[in-house]
Every structure is written in structure tokens, then in C-alpha cells.
């Protein structure tokens, strides 16, 4: 059903630390690997080994440059995947009921068997979180690894999203934002975690932790020049060249 639930029992999502992310793209590859290797329809690539490859990804890392007025420019790596919005516009626009937000944990999913591949949900998402599979011709999106987090066949430490499990910097945190004592809720409160594009009214669940203020080099006065006027051979050369 594409009507949104008024509330969800839990709000599972990610807290992404922009201070810690080193931009290695391991989460991108891990996500692609887990989902492409899935028993389902996979995560397709058109012309993967050709001159013009085009693939679907559920997680992409952008790199931005912040230019403070009074400090050197700063690089911020910015991983972006579905934010599992409470007011998900991608869900309500779906004509077939393929797009849904789960009442039990708030995860936004696509039921691929019902998807007609019209692409309207991808248009409705302001974040670019949905991509059409160029091979299967159905819409793909982050599932928050719903096939890992409840999977008893996996060791307990693997029952988290693939991107979180693989991040070598520990920049990605998975948890329940509805629980104020959860790891992600506390991180968000401590670090001033924020939502993306709040003015779009989507009420995303995922939070981004801002880069910490950088250390500044201490203000050291310039050394006084030891010689204003050249002397010796160089002075003679300087005078000789002037005369030419």
C-alpha cells in the first residue's frame, strides 16, 4: 500500500559521520557486491565491460569542497543512500503499490514483482536515492540490507547493513532512531547530527554527523629579514647587470 504509515514501531536508519569518512568507496563496493550477488534479480549493469558502462548503485560517495572564509579549503566525502524518510514522497506517488514503507521498522522498500518501471518514484525523491536497474528494468533502492539484519543464518556481527559492516573508518552507524538511548540517537544528539534538505518536508530518518572543527596552525609572527640589501659577489653582479 502506498499510503504512508502514520507512525512506525522502529525507525531503522544510518548515522553517517562526515568527519570520519575517508572517501574510500568501500561501502559502495560492498553494497553493490551484496545486492548484485543476491538470489533475487540482482543489481544490474548495462555494458559492464564495454566502452559505455552504466550501472545501478544504491549508495554513492560524492566529494565536496568546503571553502570557509578564514581557513583553508576542506574536503568532505559524502556517502549518500536512501534516507528512509518518514514522509517518503517516493512511496505515495507509486501507482502499483510496489513502493512501500514498513510499519514495523520504517524501512522503505520496492516490491520488484509489482514494479512497472515507470520511474516516477525516482523523480519524486529529492536525494537521488533510487535508480532504475538497466537490466531488470525495475526500480532499485537501499533496503537497509533487510536480508542481512534479520537473517539468523548469518553470524551476529554480520546482521548489519553491508556498508556499515565494511566501513574501515567506522564512519557508518546503524540503529533505531526511535529509541533515544540507541547508539545512533546518542551520536546524533552529541554531534549535532542533521537531516538533508529539511525544506523538502520528507522527514528523513538518516542523519549526517558534521565534520569536526579542524585544528588551526598557531599564529606565528613572520621572521624579520636579515639582509635587505645584497652584499658581496651578488651585489656586484646586481650592479653590473643594472648598468648593462
Amino acid at each position: 500500500m502506498t499510503c504512508l504509515p502514520t507512525t512506525t514501531d522502529r525507525k531503522l536508519g544510518l548515522a553517517i559521520d562526515l568527519d570520519t569518512c575517508v572517501g574510500c568507496h568501500a561501502c559502495v563496493i560492498s553494497c553493490k557486491g551484496w545486492n548484485a550477488g543476491d538470489d533475487g534479480a540482482g543489481l544490474g549493469d548495462a555494458d559492464p565491460y564495454g566502452a559505455d558502462p552504466l550501472g545501478a548503485f544504491l549508495n554513492r560517495v560524492h566529494t565536496f569542497e568546503v571553502q570557509p572564509e578564514d581557513a583553508p579549503a576542506q574536503i568532505v566525502h559524502f556517502p549518500k543512500s536512501c534516507l528512509h524518510c518518514d514522509d517518503a514522497p517516493c512511496v505515495t506517488v507509486c501507482p502499483t503499490g510496489a513502493s512501500l514503507k514498513r510499519t514495523e521498522d520504517g524501512i522503505v522498500l520496492v516490491n520488484e514483482a509489482d514494479c512497472i518501471g515507470c520511474g516516477l518514484c525516482a523523480w519524486a525523491c529529492p536525494y537521488g536515492a533510487r535508480e532504475m536497474d538497466p537490466v531488470a528494468k525495475v526500480m532499485r533502492k537501499c533496503t537497509l540490507c533487510v536480508d542481512r539484519i534479520y537473517n539468523d543464518a548469518l553470524p551476529e556481527e554480520d546482521r548489519i547493513p553491508a556498508c556499515v559492516r565494511t566501513c574501515p573508518a567506522g564512519a557508518r552507524h546503524f540503529g533505531d532512531f526511535a529509541d533515544p538511548d540507541s547508539h545512533v540517537s546518542r551520536l546524533t544528539a552529541e554531534r549535532g547530527g542533521f537531516a538533508l534538505m529539511p525544506e523538502q518536508g520528507t522527514r528523513p530518518v538518516n542523519r549526517y554527523l558534521p565534520p569536526r572543527p579542524r585544528d588551526r596552525a598557531p599564529e606565528v609572527p613572520m621572521l624579520t629579514p636579515v639582509a635587505e640589501e645584497p652584499t658581496g659577489f651578488l651585489a656586484w653582479l646586481d650592479r653590473a647587470l643594472e648598468k648593462l
Binding site: 554513492r60 560524492h62 565536496f64 570557509p68 574536503i75 514522497p89 507509486c94 512497472i116 523523480w123 523538502q200
Partner: protein, 288 residues
């Protein structure tokens, strides 16, 4: 947004077809028999042709019937219902006019209302998208309705109604363009709100070196440099020339020319509607 031929044809042709059916439903012109058959045929070919064109871009058109299920929340699903109800009501009216020589007012007026409603629903598929500020405006449904009614009046041969409607459509189009030009700025969405990284931020490196579905579908920047010229061409073809032709002494050839000009103008206007619309996701890619 990528101006896909399927959506341009869908919105232009079905808008025109439903516009004609609005007038036929109201008994303008009051035709019966073979003449009515031809009028209804044109209306159905345009409306159904547009609807069929809209299925061309679907990844799985064989599942299209599922699109009738989510009318509570989805304008696209409402479009499916509106189209079918409008076509059924107008078919009943058509059977009366073509085979029985009767002009049934009840299904006709109801059909005309649902045809108009369907054009409104089509426009809401676009106007509902907050992620595309240019479309997220009352001007989108007003524009679709004005163009549909003007084209319908023109096709129905109602010159006295068509002239003011064509002028109205042209005026709404001009206002919609200029309001749309300011929409991105007014939306409040910038790279600063998109990233939370402060006012001075720019893209240093995109996620991948190649294009992806998002950049192909939603970041269309080609052809915008000709936008001003194309706007003039659209306005000229869609409104100005048909009005001049309608004001000349009546001749069937001039009427046909007016229709052809108008349709060409609407197609150019619809191409601009998509090509000029900027999706906020372009901010993440340093492109608009």
C-alpha cells in the same frame, strides 16, 4: 528533466484528445451520424494514442494493470482511472450520437467533466513533485487545462470559443515560464541545504566518472541555450498563428493549418516543460 518522446507525446496528444472530447460531450458541435463518428474517432485516436505512448517508457508494461490499485495516494494511478472512466462515458455519449442520432446530455456532461478532470490529474503527476520546483506550482495544472481546452475548441471547430482560449493558453504559458524561472531560487533548496556543509561548498569529485540513471534522467542541460528562441516558436505556433488563421475568413484549409500549427506548438511547449525543469538532485552532481 530528460524530455523523453513518450511523455511529450502522452501529455500533448491525450491533452488534445480529452480537450476535444470535452466539447463533444457538451454537444459542441451538435453532430450526429457519420460526422459524429469522425469527430469521436479523432478524439479517441488522440487520447488513446497519448495513453499508449505513455506505456512506451515503462520497464514492465505487462504489469500496467496494477497501476489501477493505488488511487488513494498516487496521481498516476488516478490518471489510469480518470482515463478509463472518461473514455467509457464518452463512448456511451458517442454511441448515442453516431448510431441513434441522439444527443444524451447526462453522459455527455459527465464525460466532459471527467475528461477535464483527467487532464487536471495528468498535470498533477508533475505538479505534485516538490523535487522539481518548476513543476511544483499551480501554474502547471492551469497550463495543462488551458492548452487542452484551447486545442479541444480548435479541433471541435468552435472558432468563437477557440480564439479567446488560445489567447488565454498563450498568456498562461508566458506567466508559467516566468514563474518557473524563479522557482528553483524560491524553493529554498541549495547545495548548502542538500549537504549541510555551509554556504560555500562545491562539488570536487562526482561519485563515478561515468553518467548514471540519475544524471541521464534528471540532469538534462542540453538545448537550454536555445530556450528563449524555442519559447518564442512555441508561443507563435501554439497561440498566435492559429488565432490569426481563425480570424481570417473561414476556409477548411486554414482550419487544418491552424490545428497543425497548434499541435506543433504544444509539442515544442511540452519539450520545454521537461527540458527546462531542474531536479534538485542535480545539486549533488554540480549540475542543474
Amino acid at each position: 528533466m530528460h524530455p523523453a518522446p513518450s511523455v511529450i507525446l502522452f501529455t500533448s496528444l491525450s491533452g488534445l484528445g480529452f480537450g476535444l472530447l470535452v466539447f463533444l460531450g457538451l454537444g459542441l458541435p451538435p453532430v450526429t451520424g457519420w460526422v459524429a463518428f469522425v469527430f469521436w474517432l479523432i478524439g479517441y485516436v488522440l487520447a488513446c494514442g497519448g495513453l499508449i505512448a505513455s506505456t512506451f517508457h515503462l520497464g514492465h508494461p505487462e504489469r500496467a494493470l496494477k497501476a489501477f490499485t493505488q488511487w488513494r495516494s498516487s496521481w498516476l494511478s488516478r490518471e489510469a482511472w480518470g482515463s478509463v472512466i472518461a473514455l467509457v462515458l464518452m463512448a456511451i455519449t458517442g454511441i448515442g450520437a453516431v448510431f441513434l442520432g441522439a444527443r444524451w446530455a447526462l453522459p455527455g456532461v459527465l464525460g466532459a467533466l471527467v475528461c477535464l478532470g483527467t487532464v487536471f490529474i495528468t498535470s498533477m503527476i508533475y505538479a505534485q513533485l516538490k523535487s522539481v520546483p518548476r513543476w511544483h506550482s499551480a501554474w502547471t495544472p492551469l497550463l495543462f487545462l488551458a492548452i487542452s481546452l484551447a486545442g479541444g475548441a480548435l479541433l471541435a471547430g468552435q472558432a468563437s470559443v477557440a480564439v479567446p482560449l488560445l489567447l488565454l493558453a498563450g498568456a498562461v504559458q508566458i506567466v508559467a515560464w516566468f514563474a518557473g524561472d524563479r522557482a528553483m531560487g524560491r524553493s529554498g533548496t541549495t547545495l548548502a541545504t542538500a549537504t549541510g556543509l555551509g554556504p560555500k561548498v562545491r562539488l570536487l569529485a562526482p561519485p563515478h566518472t561515468g553518467p548514471n540513471y540519475l544524471t541521464q534522467e534528471m540532469v538534462f542541460v542540453i538545448g537550454r541555450k536555445h530556450a528563449t528562441r524555442l519559447r518564442a516558436i512555441a508561443l507563435l505556433l501554439m497561440s498566435v498563428l492559429p488565432v490569426i488563421l481563425l480570424l481570417l475568413p473561414f476556409h477548411h484549409l486554414l482550419g487544418l493549418l491552424a490545428v497543425l500549427f497548434h499541435v506543433a506548438g504544444v509539442v515544442v511547449s511540452r519539450w520545454l516543460f521537461f527540458a527546462e525543469a531542474e531536479h534538485v538532485v542535480g545539486l549533488y552532481y554540480g549540475q542543474r
